[in-house]
Amino acid sequence: MAKHETPLLDQLETGPWPSFVTDIKRQAETKPECWDILGILELSYKERITHWKHGGIVGVFGYGGGIVGRYADMPKEFPGVEHFHTVRVAQPSSKYYSTKNLRQLMDLWEKYGSGMTNFHGSTGDIILLGTRTENLEPFFWDLTHDMKQDLGGSGSNLRTPANCIGQSRCEWSCYDTEEACYHLTMHYQDEIHRPAFPYKFKFKFSGCPNDCVAAIARSDVSVIGTWRDNIRIDQAAVKEYVADNYPANGGAFSGRDWGAFDIQKEVINLCPTDCMWMEGEELKIDDSECTRCMHCINVMPRALRPGADQGASICVGAKAPILDGAQFSTLIVPFMKIEKENDFEELIDFIETIWDWWMEVGKNRERVGETMQRVGLPTFLKVMGIKPIPQHVKEPRSNPYIFWKEEEVEGGFERDVDEFRRNHAA
């Protein structure tokens, strides 16, 4: 039995798609506080103003992240959402979980929370919506002790690292994303659970340039698998594709008739750098021009594979649109070996160089990508101790001036003017 009249929300149930309103009504049958979610949302639709207060002081002992305090500003009218805190639970690596684990988690959330969830937040966490302050510690105890799971990151912390399925199931993964993600998660427990930075900081691990965890769009440090030798070609398999004996795209998009496979139209003409061509029945690739777009490999997975000398490109500075709009991360290191044997030392050194600089130079609530934009890429590269390379150049220069530093000029800035004038009359 509905607790509040919700004519505006009810309208949202009349469309052709599943409605969150229907979901919340169903949940409210067992969790009555959910009626107050609908009530307060209806009021916000009517008054066109939010009735959630901003942030709060909740948390669990010893942690400075993982719980987001949410309070309603009309607790008397909507007591069920007086406290409605969000809990972020770190997702299992690659989001592999068993149904047993999910059932346990949902049982726990029915016991201590509203039972409402978001799967997953953009960082990857399992988001549990709506609990009271007094339930946080018992929930945290059961989660960590009975289920051996942990909270994720929130606030100015290192956010829960995320990775694609990597080499566990994907033949294209150029490094072990799960091992890298797990190692860095354990290495940076303090940064995940206690605030450390001017603002949030994320890293994500994708095994190949298909970038299945959207590292390039979301993470401050994007570790994206790549190779530095040549795409491996099986010419016999190429012939099979050309003869239409192998399904293109691994059989995806097969729901309608696209006609016979046309390698020229579907692969070669779509190469963004025009680096492919046919010589008779053989497919040729000028690998020096390849930008790792993955299109040809995606279309002909049985004929083409990433090269064998594998590692990752490291890009820095992606963010979603809050200030100045969204931006992708910028390529900083074209190739780095990502190896467990040295405990990912090179990657860790790279990350900590960024942190040391950003913690000092970054403004409050400024993502590292915004700091980079503010100081300029040349300054950032200098901080990182990286020599500029052509891949760092985004566009031809528009500023005609070249500013030399004294150490870059032979003889420095101290010159004997008389000596100079002997050959250059005033």
Partner: protein, 76 residues
Amino acid sequence: MALEIDALKDAIEEKATKSPKPQLYIKDFYKCDPDSKPRVIKNVANEMVREGRLMFWSSGSTTMYGIPSRIQNEEG
């Protein structure tokens, strides 16, 4: 020369007590000791939270620090 840990804690507490704002960013504490590395100040501030001398306030996306009695308590 960087302050000793106890002196740094006192300086942070004084800053958090006297600041017109009840909640401060971690960077606001850097000025308590310009000779200490940001990471040292962060570690000390977090230790003070464990000791109950400071408290976290989080919007969900940003975390700030404050003296517990000065942070507005939403739970009344």
